[in-house]
């Protein structure tokens, strides 16, 4: 495949994958089991999700390592398996991709407030991100993808961790804008764009988010603040609601809705487009048709 950075710069839009967590939940992820823990015991569902996205047209898949930092894994008593889990996840993604898609190592938030709001320090954060990024990079990824961040400092810590672990690996970075057009920690899209530009990440943007509209608004503001930057849009499939009778959560955006937004994201400078919570291979297929 073409080098990911040159594709980002001048090739066709990169179609990224959709949700992993909600797909695994639908595939029977036992309650209380983390996707990372399941991956160790039973890699098939994870591999199936990757394959389904690639068959739907994804050019880029994210490893099943959103909760793959020590800070998250310790809740499922897997803190000593950070390296093994992250390496295994890359291997599974690589096998599923079979040279048809870029594999990027997924890095999610720590689930803790950093000091002074909480007790976890910035330096501790850098340390746990470095540990995860090291394992992902050593296993051989095409990039590292830091996502669903709300706190600018935590994003800085993650980027610093990635730089320390793997200075040459391309970095993708996205915030979740879910409150009045800002992150729940109050970060404005333009502020995020300026910071990420200064930290020299290769592409940045918005994922998750409250609604498609809010993510679109955030991407528009980032585009205004950084008109030449390759942007990322990886929103939820709209908003969740409960189908009461089936006791099942459904996200309300159809594949066609996501495709319509994908076209708008392209117009706003997005070079990587995919889905987050609630999206499925059907959504990604519609996005792929819309942008290629």
């Amino acid at each position: 495949m073409e080098d990911i950075l040159s594709r980002l710069k001048s090739g066709p839009v990169i179609v990224a994958d959709g949700a992993m967590g909600t797909m695994l939940q639908a595939a029977g992820l036992p309650t209380g089991m983390s996707p990372e823990g399941w991956l160790l015991e039973n890699p098939k569902p994870v591999r199936d999700v990757h394959q389904a996205y690639i068959e739907a047209g994804a050019d880029m898949i994210l490893t099943c390592t959103f909760g793959g930092t020590r800070a998250r894994l310790e809740h499922s008593r897997l803190a000593e398996q950070v390296s093994e889990i992250n390496r295994r996840a890359v291997k599974i993604a690589r096998e599923a991709a079979a040279g048809r898609a870029y594999v990027v190592g997924d890095i999610g938030p720590l689930g803790k407030l950093l000091a002074p709001l909480g007790t976890f320090t910035y330096d501790q954060a850098v340390e746990v991100f470095t540990e995860q990024a090291t394992a992902l990079a050593e296993a051989g990824v095409d990039g590292l993808y830091i996502e669903t961040m709300s706190d600018l400092n935590e994003m800085r810590a993650a980027i610093q961790g990635v730089h320390q672990a793997a200075p040459e690996v391309p970095i993708f970075a996205t915030f979740s804008f879910d409150r009045h057009g800002r992150t729940n920690m109050g970060v404005r899209p333009e502020q995020a764009a300026e910071t990420l530009l200064s930290l020299k990440v290769d592409a940045f943007g918005a994922n998750c988010g409250a609604t498609l509209e809010m993510t679109e608004g955030a991407v528009a503001k980032m585009h205004e603040a950084a008109p030449h930057a390759p942007l990322i849009a990886k929103p939820n499939a709209g908003k969740p609601h409960m189908e009461i009778e089936q006791r099942k959560v459904v996200y309300d955006a159809t594949p066609e809705d996501m495709a319509e937004y994908a076209r708008r994201f392209v117009a706003l400078g997005a070079r990587v487009i995919g889905g987050c919570c609630g999206s499925s291979p059907a959504h990604i297929a519609a996005i792929a048709r819309a942008v290629t």
């Binding site: 409150r179 920690m185 409960m242």
Partner: protein, 214 residues
């Protein structure tokens, strides 16, 4: 209102812990009763913080810092209350936790902090809390409110399991149950017979006050 109380309210709103502590001490030196300080500076300050959060002017860091400033002031006021054999009015007792199988912490802890700042006695059981633990702690604390957080489409079913466990233990009449977390919503609250749903920490305080009529 005295100038000191006005300033104290302002520094709580601004989340300045050191100044809040200092001004609370000044208020006591000026012979202002500790309960007056709470009712006329701290409580209204936190209400303004809640309003600003609601309208999108304030975000999580502002809530946390304001609650910290309030706590700093209370560290000065608590001994004074004790010395006068007075108590801050306790609005209710809340047992709160993230349900079994779910390790999401930030939202639940924020709700606990805001309820505590609003004058509730809060027992935070942490994350991944089994139903039996909620039941046990409700019995021990004679709580009148239970807060259940769930952030996953799978674990939200465990909010229902806690409500059933409370029923089986004969405690359901004693407590109001409030739920929250990203995939949940008012319809889900209704489905599982919870008494309320709150979208965020500020709303949680409002709903719990409504539920208890305080």
């Amino acid at each position: 209102m005295s100038e000191i109380l006005k300033q104290l309210q302002e520094v709580v709103i601004a989340g300045e812990s050191d100044q809040a502590q200092e001004l609370a001490a000044q208020a006591l030196e000026a012979d202002i009763a500790p309960l007056t300080v709470i009712e006329n500076a701290l409580n209204p300050g936190m209400e303004i913080v809640g309003d600003r959060y609601e309208c999108g002017e304030y975000f999580i860091p502002d809530l946390v810092m304001a609650a910290e400033a309030m706590k700093a002031a209370m560290r000065v006021l608590d001994p004074a209350l004790k010395a006068r054999q007075e108590q801050r009015q306790v609005l209710g007792t809340v047992v709160i936790g993230t349900v079994e199988g779910d390790i999401h912490e930030i939202g639940k802890s924020l709700v606990a902090t805001m309820l505590s700042a609003a004058g509730f006695q809060v027992h935070d059981l942490g994350v991944d809390v089994p139903p039996v633990e909620f039941v046990k702690r409700v019995q021990e604390t004679e709580a009148n409110v239970v807060g259940l957080s769930a952030l996953l489409t799978t674990t939200m079913l465990n909010q229902e399991a806690v409500i059933e466990a409370l029923e089986e233990a004969g405690l359901r009449e004693q407590v109001k149950v409030i739920i929250g977390g990203a995939p949940t919503g008012p319809e889900w609250a209704q489905t599982i017979d919870a008494d309320a749903y709150a979208e965020n920490a500020n709303e949680a305080v409002e709903r719990v006050k409504e539920l208890l009529g305080v």
